[in-house]
Amino acid sequence: MTETMTHYERIIAAYRLEEPDRVPVIPINSYFLPYHVGMTIRQAQREPDRLIQAHLDHQDLLGDAVHPFQSGHDHLGLFGRTGWDQTTLDWRIYEDFPPKGNLPNLYEKDIIEDYDDVFERGFSTLLFNLKLENQIWKRSVHDFLYFEFDYLKVWAAAWRRFVEESGISLLLGGRACHPLDLLQYYRGIFNLVSDLYEQPEKVKAMCEWLAEYEAVRAMGRAMTMGAGEVPGADTILFINGGPPGLSPAMFDEFYFPYAKKMIDMFVKRGFKVHNHWDTDLTPNLRTIARLADGLPKGKLLMDFEKTNMKKAKEILGDKMCIAGNVPVVMLIYGTVAEVEDYCKTLIHDCAEGGGYMLGGECDIPWDAKPENVRAMVEAARKFGQYKASGRESKGREARSGFSPNERRILEEIKAGLQPPTREELDRVTAKWLFGSNTETMMKYAPWSFVLTKLMWKKGEEPWAR
C-alpha cells in the first residue's frame, strides 16, 4: 500500500474527477471523536485546544478530511451563522451525551404563520417568537458575548493549527442550507405540504429570499475559516436534506431551482460545494446531474445518504465527485467485517476512474464503535488503491507546513475567490432581519434593534412568556 499524495491532494484530485493514489475517505465526525476520548458536549463546545489535541491524537479515525466541529454549535449565537439557523436549532448548551444529556436537535414548528408578515417585518421579530425555546436570553453576558462575537474566530484559529500540524484537510469552511429545508422547520411538514399545493408562489418567493441570505453568509463564514489559506476552508457544506418524499416533479419545481442558484453562486465566486443529500434521491439523479450545467469540473461533491451509489456513479460520474452511503446504523451495531464488506462493494461500484470519496450516510453517530469507524477509514487504504496514480507528489514532509503543491493549489483557489464584501453581508443580514423595513432600519443603525421593539405585535415580546 503506497501513498504518494497528501490528504489534501487526494481530496482535490477526487473533486477534479481524477484518480488519486487511493480513494479518499471522509467520515463526518462531529460528536463521535469527543465522545470516544471522554469529553462531554460542553467541553467539546468550550475547549477548542483540547478538542484539537484529541483529533491530533486519533488521526487513525479521521480519514482525509475533518469536519470542524464548531459548525455543530452555530446555534449558540443569537444570529446563528449559516445552515440551520437560530430559529431551527435548539439553543441550549448541552452538558453531556445521552443518557445524561443530549445532542442539539432540529425544531420543526409552525414558527412562520404568515409568509407576507415575514416579507414585511423580516425574521427579527421571530427571534422572540414564543414558539422558540430561546434560552439564549437566560445566559450569562459572558456566554452571550463569546458565542456572538468570539467563538468563530477562536475555533477558526484552532482548526487552522490542526490542519497545519496534521495535513488533514477541512471538510468545510462554511455551511448553507437549502431554503426549502429551512421552510420545513419554519412551517412544519404538514403546513409545508399544504403550502406546496395551495400557495406555491409564496413558497417560491420565500425560497428566493432565503437563498441569497444563506449563500452569502456561508461564503462569509468560509472566509473567516481561512478559505484560500487553509486546505478545505473554501468548501461550502450545502445541506440538502429535503422535505421527505418530494416527487421528482416537485423536486424539479421547488428544489432544483434554488439548489442550482446557490451552487452557481458558490462556484462562480470560487468556492467548492460539498452537497449533502439526505434520503434516497435515486429517482432525482438526472435532475441532480443538471446542477453541474455551465460549471467547471472540480467544484462539486455529491454526498448521498440512501441513494443508489452505483446508479449515482453511472449518471453523475463524469460531472461531479460522489461520496457517502456507508450506513450509520452499521457503524453502531455492525461488525468490522460487515463494514469492510460494505465499503469494499462501494469502492468496487464507484471508484473506477476517480471522482469518488468513501463516506458515511451522514454524521458518524457519537456512539459508533471505534473499531467500525477505523475499519471504514482503513477500507479506503485496503481496497481503494488506484493502479496508476494520475499525478504524483513527493508528499508532505512531517509537520513542516504545506507542501509546495498544496501551496500552489491554495494560491490558485485564493486568486479565484470573490468573497462577499462587508456591505453585501450587511445587506443580506439586514434584509433577513427587517424585511421590507430594511432601508429605514439601516438608516437608524445601530438603533435598529431598539426599533425592532416597535415591530413586535402584542404578545411577541420576550417577557410575554
Binding site: 445521552p98 443518557p99 411538514i189 453517530p365 456512539d367
Partner: protein
Amino acid sequence: MGKLSEAFVGLDKKTALQVVREELESGRDPLDLVDEARKGLERVGEKFDSGEYFLMELMRAAQIFQAAAEVLNPAIRQAYGEVTTKGRVLLGTVAGDIHDLGKNIVKILLECRGVEVIDLGVDVPAEKFVRSVQENHPQVVGLSALLTASVAEMNRTTEAIEKAGLRDQVRVIFGGGIVGEIGASRLKADFATTDVNQGIRQIEQWIGRVDPGAGMT
C-alpha cells in the same frame, strides 16, 4: 372508481370537497362517501407502494381526507349519532428525541382510517407511556425516533411496559429513520419499520378492520 375516489387519486382537494357536498345534498349516505374516500386513500397508498407516488402525495391525500371529514362529520352525526372508533393506538417520540415528523405522518394516516390516536408528543419518558397504557388501554403502542441513540430508549420503554405487566395487552411497533435497518433481534418490538405504509398496514392488521364510519366523529 367513483368521482370522489378519483379526486383523491388526482390529489384534487377542490373537486373532492365539491363532490362530497353535492352528493350529501343529493341525499347520499355519508358513510358511503367515507367508504369511497377511504378507497381513494387506499389507491393513493398503492401508488405510493409501487413508487408512482411519494410521501408528499400520501400526506396530501390524508390532508384532503381530513378536509372531507370536516364536511362529512356533521352529516354522519345527524344520521347515525356518535360513531365510536374500533382501534386505539398510543403514539409518542421517546425520551431524548424531539423529532415528530414520522410520528405525525403515522398519526394523520391512522386517523384517516378511523383509528383513535392518543399522541403523547415528543421526548416522552418511559413512565409516561406506561401510565398512558394503564389509563387508555390501547391495542398498539407506537414508539417513534430519529436519532440512533434513541433505539436504546425505545427498548427501555418497551421493557418498562413489560415490567409494569402490560406487555401482553399491547403490540409494540417501532418507527423511525433508522430502526428498519437494525436487526429484529436487537429490537424489543413486535414490528419495526421505516416505511409508513407498511407500519399502518401492520397496525390495521393488529387491531382488525374498522367499520366504515369509525373515527369520523
